[in-house]
Subunit: 400 residues, 2 copies
Amino acid sequence: MDDEFANFLTHLECGLTSEYHQAGEVHGLSRAGKPLLARYDLSAIKANADRDAILARTNGFWKWRELLPVRETKNICALGEVDTPLIALNNLHKNGTVIVKDEGRLPTGSFKARGLALAVAMASELGLTHLAMPTNGNAGSALSAYASRIGLQTTVACPDDTPAINIEETALQGAKVYKANGLINACGAWIKAGADKGLWFDLSTLKEPYRIEGKKTMGLELAAQMGWALPDVIFYPTGGGTGLIGMWKAFAELIELGWLEKNDLPRMVAVQASGCAPIVRAYDAGKRFAEPWEDAHTFAAGIRVPAAVGDFLILDAVRASGGFAIAVDDEAIEHARQTVAQREGLLLCPEGAATYAAYMAARQNGQVSADERAVLFNCATGLKYPMPDAGEALDLANPA
Amino acid sequence: MDDEFANFLTHLECGLTSEYHQAGEVHGLSRAGKPLLARYDLSAIKANADRDAILARTNGFWKWRELLPVRETKNICALGEVDTPLIALNNLHKNGTVIVKDEGRLPTGSFKARGLALAVAMASELGLTHLAMPTNGNAGSALSAYASRIGLQTTVACPDDTPAINIEETALQGAKVYKANGLINACGAWIKAGADKGLWFDLSTLKEPYRIEGKKTMGLELAAQMGWALPDVIFYPTGGGTGLIGMWKAFAELIELGWLEKNDLPRMVAVQASGCAPIVRAYDAGKRFAEPWEDAHTFAAGIRVPAAVGDFLILDAVRASGGFAIAVDDEAIEHARQTVAQREGLLLCPEGAATYAAYMAARQNGQVSADERAVLFNCATGLKYPMPDAGEALDLANPA
């Protein structure tokens, strides 16, 4: 145990059955084959931690140390975390009603930094030495960076059509990268087979309990930035859904701690692409579990996730919040991306642009009103993604 | 004048002759053809502003409002500025002695955001409507974003070998982009000709007085982050040198304000590439002005600047600080980039990597000792630059 920071993690619970699992051990999925959720002694946190003292810290998501599972300070792997800014789209909408939270400012340029920093820190704490993961791009890059920072080995497998920039940054930051002749789920099976043989530990989304604790900090940070209050509605690009699940968990913990000025929870909106919308389909059909999506396609690769192991946790949160699930097509995503870039000077990633397309659709069909305060999550820097060819040839011999 | 913020700008001075130029008017270069420097009523700032109240603000470089030239709040164009993090290279060096300031976390992914935000804000305040600039990439992108945010028109000319990502983001954010059959200085001449005709205002580096005020915030922010103290030595990638000049100006202002705990100034080190090192050549020859470099070449495009209009300001600051100028070759830059990425998980841009290569060279030749606290400026996200091909083909039929 650390001198300065007490640790309040008590145990882990199966997200479906609530079955108890002991802390301090290496865990994958629960015995029921579902994601595990970390549980804390919240009344002890309430007695020992001060929300405003936490807020005054300058180390980004690591400032929430009392609400995170890491025990020893030496396992905190930091790469310059910042509180990601809130940017109001005031040229396009009434002052302050539509706000983008720009997660592209984190190390490695995406919100994956939050989850992977925590997963890597806990892997280090629990004595693991070699971590592996399938990835479509940003997760692999974040894993690679944080693992190299703390001195762990990493192996990543990605489909061979993954953008070169993701493969190159991941490799440059120290991971062994394999480009596979197949899709992300086939890469996942290959990684799992290696893990079963004892070659490495499988760090796939929600298959270990701590990435969700990192993503939880999006909700903690948002509440603190908004003066310990929450917006009316949150639009979240939903692939594996760890962030949506994590934020919902964060809000519950904040209420139990009594740290919110008002306990009004936001409506949670799961945004997917029309070409891969298993959660939207399950939501519309009133189901708690989602069938895998066939022939998934969308250029927003981060939400091209045919089957999410935390499907029921996403759908439970959306329904409990009075929110909804909504799909937008690639044309609407591209149009949203161009509109926000040209009118606000803000270049979103495709998944972030999907949330703005969904917001506009929801405004049009009356699911959201103009007076509601909406927060949209831009999950990565727009710079990692293909953009339309641009620029006009200029012969310098012709004067302006 | 704004209610909440008093404005302390008094006038502008020629950087060479100190000749007085009036505030509140559109300015290019001074009457002597040199950069203009903004001057403030520092004793009034001292009487009216509190350094710790400023530090508590959360709006990044805009927090320094009292030390900036913008009068009216409506001209503050903001895109989610953050204090850029300090990241110690503790795997490679003794704890806390080598620190990277990662400017890639700013809007549009580079330190150009600081200068262009201020230049655009002042252009708006002074009634300009159409701004233009030659660019090798990052400056054009920052100009485009901030101008669209505040509603001004922009035209940019770049060499047609500028990386596609820069051209595309700049265009997507609203600028008219021309790809020219020539180098950056030819683009600059074309832009100047258009400005002379009254088509637009020329916002080239140091040709207007306010970009330097934006870059100045690097020095203010660094001092505040280090507990109102400064490091022993600063390595700065030097193209046009606005940032080095700006930081040196910031330190002088901080001393006059009495805001530093200790008035020990850092040694300023100008880092250039061996293929384009006009400042290093002038420094070595004991000259105050630099001859233009012929046949400039280096893959670190941001420091491929053959002639800097602020050459004497750079050389004056380097000499006054007891620092030096140093050139590193492309091979050393690439090696530095790979070392920091693999060992620390931090992907630098080539210009940022040049500062680490220079630090290592200076350690080896004794110009810097292991005990000195060094800050290196990583001027942009590493993601905008080409990386070596990576990844190994994997046949999923073969198990791990």
